[in-house]
Amino acid sequence: MSGARLGAGAFALVGLGISIYLTVVHYAQGQVALLCATGGAINCEQVTTSPESNVGPIPVALLGVVWFLVTLALVAGPQLRLARAGSAGWKSLWLVWSGIGVLVVFYLIYSELFLIGSICLWCTAIHVLVIGLFLLALNEWIEAASDVSTADTEPG
């Protein structure tokens, strides 16, 4: 497994852990403490209990769990024999999936800044991890595309 994939796996595991924690806090209804500042501009509780913290009946934190699980599968695909190592198609899928994650992160940051008026540090950590995963996916995809184009031009 490449260093980039190892890093991506670590990012995804950390993100999965935070998402699970926020999901548990959401459903625990105050029985599990949200360890974060609750006053001023940094206010996790204000963010995680806002109308923007749900998509319909589904908490955004739970969507985060799903996103990171899929990301883990995409990162570990070759190891799980779900894809051939170095498969450009698989890496394209990973890139598209992480790109969707970045777009959602943009919306969530917008919501925090302009709709809710508070910033959640746990959410910020998730945003950094999602962006990091996207950049790793982009890097892997460019390398794969570069390898394919190099192989295509090599004499047989």
Partner: protein, 331 residues
Amino acid sequence: MSSQRRSKDRNQAANARTAARRGVPAPPSTPPPTSQRLTSKRPRSGRSWPITAIVGGIIVLVIVAMGVVKFVLPLTGSATAPSGSADAVSATVMQALTSVSDTTLNQVGQGTAQPLPISTGAPILKGASGHPLIVYEGAEYCPFCAAERWGLVVALSRFGKFSNLHTSRSASDDVYPSTPTFTFVGSTYQSDYIEFSPVEMQSNQRTSTGYATLQTPTAQQRQLLSTYDAPPYIAAQNAGSIPFLDLANQFIVSGSQFSPGSLDNRTWDQIAGNLNNPSTDDAKAIVGSANQITAAICHATGDTPANVCGQPAIKTLEAKLSAQAAPKAGQ
């Protein structure tokens, strides 16, 4: 290594994979040189990182741009409204709210605002920073919240600074329609002495079921409302009413301390312009309310800062508030 040799090795590896899939042994192949066995993967080109860095930079720029729109532009006068038709509070009004003179403060004293904040007898509630926590719970449609925000903003501005505060009006189809006020949605408050945790639960926009949900109270805000906005602190028929102010759990205010009717058909500039004139009804109501809230906060901060808590009117009010007996169950 020549390109022909790399291509030959790749073909041999592909043949081996194909054979393995068919369940037949792979033909023997010439082992690659030791140097290639140790580094069986194609060397990374390194061409991807500049592109990745550029994309990463663009992402960071987008986020920074959002931060600039949120935090920098409002300071230069082109604020983004947090909701609905709210406008940034003008510099003139903000100046009036934050610069009530000591002379006016002391001449107004308790003013006409009533009732006084109610003592709870509970321990001091502190926020994450360790400072006393002030909690406001209200809604943009509510005319009584509209009135109470005036004194609250004046009082809190003595301990810290609001940013991105916007004007708002109570609902146009409720009692005391369209009372001019402020909204805490989208605002931030910085203080070295206290923390402020506001929530505006509904907007002033009517929906089929009431008013549109705006912000959801935190678990702590819900718990404070159910505990202290209830008997024995207030009458049972008023339990849960807004506005509700929890002043570090030392004192609470439920409802407004003066009638929203006094603000009817007035502009923010007209009201704010009267705050430094202690003979006006606006100053007696709004500065009076601010002084009472200030005295309650000073009780929680240990009388800091001295330039605020040391004012004679504040000391008198603090002594008056402290002399109250906390209500007991059954009263």
